[in-house]
């Protein structure tokens, strides 16, 4: 049974009244004990997925399975999942102890057992000694911990986190990212984390689902998604990128900005129109003679770790460069990049086709060795 995914969505669609669907025919599987992130802009449907898993709302179409059993109509209070809410949703009329004990009291657990479990949960989130505090006396970060303790004390198989860090300031947020990741490892249960912050998603997750307009655009490990974005949306949403139109001349050769470049992609049709992604940090500034591209520097921003330089080529495409070197505005410079830095995206490719193509590369690579 260990191999059955803990949560499965099969062709799930969610509509509210007559509005366009919030989720369109979404299918995915969640494995036990991993840290998942649902990433996307607001209104992409990520919170809806969470609410469907928690049972706060019902799917319009499709099946939701938990441990292989259909749970579409199981009410929220009968599900083996617990949620950490965006606004924490701590009960203001109860103190810290009673907030954490809420779920256990509902289960009619004996008082001594509740006492020790709540203590344990509060220890887990480093809040020992805060039992009798009122919620209004707690800081934002502490409230966050209480909310987590309240969820884990019930020993759920899955914890859902709905943008729990969005209300915290930057420093605290980074700290909590480490803590959450650490917590998930220690508990060994499944975390499903919703965020619109791509850095957060890349830093914390085992798996990321990138969502847009009610559909999963791409799923995979943070590195896969960053290095091999499937389409313009993902490339744009995850990190910054330069995207230009191009044409696949043949295997390992692509044309853009009127020139042909060596690349590592193959298996596409000859002369197929494609989109090219090059990350700003993969572009290197050199002299105009040595550069693969000749561009004119338009503006320069100091970003602390690097300069963000915006340049234009002769076709009017913008090229964003992250470099520790400075370049004078108005001068012509050359840009160099490795063949590996070029990422080719097929137009309108679905995730399955994309995965098949990537597997095909792997096979070719293996054959070659």
């Amino acid at each position: 049974m260990e191999n059955v995914p803990i949560i499965q969505f099969k062709h799930v669609t969610k509509l509210y009244d007559n509005d366009p669907p919030v989720l369109k025919d979404v299918s995915f599987e969640i494995e036990r004990g991993k840290f998942y992130t649902l990433l996307g802009p607001s209104g992409c449907g990520k919170t809806t997925i969470l609410r469907l898993i928690a049972g706060f709302t019902e799917a319009s179409e499709g099946e939701i399975l938990f441990n292989g059993n259909k749970i579409n109509h199981v009410p929220a209070n009968k599900r083996q999942v617990n949620t950490v809410f965006q606004d924490y949703a701590l009960f203001p009329h109860l103190n810290v102890f009673e907030n954490v004990a809420f779920g256990l009291r509902i289960k009619k657990m004996k008082a001594p057992a509740i006492e020790s479990k709540v203590k344990e949960a509060l220890n887990f989130v480093n809040l020992q000694g805060y039992e009798n505090r009122e919620i209004r006396e707690m800081s934002g970060g502490q409230r966050q911990r209480v909310a987590i303790a309240r969820a884990i004390v019930n020993e759920p198989e899955v914890i859902l986190l709905d943008e729990p860090l969005s209300a915290l300031d930057l420093k605290l947020r980074t700290e909590m990212q480490y803590e959450l990741r650490e917590l998930q490892r220690r508990l060994g249960i499944t975390f499903i984390f919703v965020t619109h912050d791509q850095e957060e998603a890349l830093a914390m997750s085992d798996e990321i689902f990138v969502l847009n307009k009610g559909k999963i655009q791409q799923s995979g490990t943070p590195i896969d998604i960053y290095d091999e974005p499937i389409n313009q949306f993902v490339a744009d949403f995850i990190g910054e990128s330069n995207i230009v139109k191009g044409k696949m001349i043949e295997d390992y050769l692509v044309e853009f900005v009127g020139r042909q470049f060596e690349c590592v992609d193959q298996g596409l049709d000859k002369n197929e129109p494609v989109e090219i992604v090059i990350r700003p940090e993969d572009l290197e500034i050199t002299s105009t003679e040595h550069g693969k591209l000749k561009v004119k520097v338009d503006s320069l921003l100091f970003r602390g770790v690097h300069y963000e330089i915006s340049c234009y080529d002769q076709d009017g495409n913008e090229w964003l460069v992250h470099s520790t070197k400075k370049a004078a505005v108005g001068t012509e410079i050359g840009l160099h990049f490795d063949p590996e830095a070029i990422h080719v995206m097929r137009l309108g490719e679905t995730e399955e086709e994309f995965d098949r193509r990537l597997e095909a590369y792997a096979d070719v690579d293996n054959d070659g060795e």
Partner: protein, 230 residues
Amino acid sequence: MYDFKGFTLDWYKELFQDTRLLIIVLNTIVVALLAALISTMIGVLGALAIHMARKRNTKNALLSLNNVLIVSPDVIIGASFLILFTMAGIKLGFYSVLLSHIAFCIPIVVLMVLPKLSEMSPSLIDAARDLGASGWDVFSKVIIPYISPGIFAGFFMALTYSFDDFAVTFFVTGNGFSTLSVEIYSLARRGISLHINALSALLFLFTMLLVVVYYFISKRNKPNGMGVGK
């Protein structure tokens, strides 16, 4: 005022020896307490019904109906209730007065409870459900404790309104039954008397007491009660 000869409690003594008046005072208190209690119960349920209404139009319609008795002039409420009770065959007296008071207190309670409900984050209910609470648990362990300041405020508001009401009671009271304000009115129509002065002082003190209690409740009600828990 007339032949003022110093302070005396004689008028109060006389007041309390007058059993008729004593009964009237008791009537007033009993009606106010019962009306406040019952209207609070119904009003809380009403506020919940309005809050939970899914469709915007339903919500607005319920709210408008709720407010009819608040904006209507007392004379109209009194007159229409008089017709209602006569048609329904309810004898004018204690029950007609009590029913009227319950009726005009309900919307007040609703208006006192509703802001507390809308202030409550909907994720609080989700959180309770998420932690395994049944519908009844959510109601008794989360919603009621959360809105309890609103409920108390509503109860005392209702008490004050019932206590203070003259016009509606005047219409539906009939012959055998009287409350303080109706009694004062009928006495006052005959002119000034020290008898009413004492009675008025009594009513005044009662009202002020209620207002003070209400004031403290609403003060505690303020969302960020910073004063407590140092």
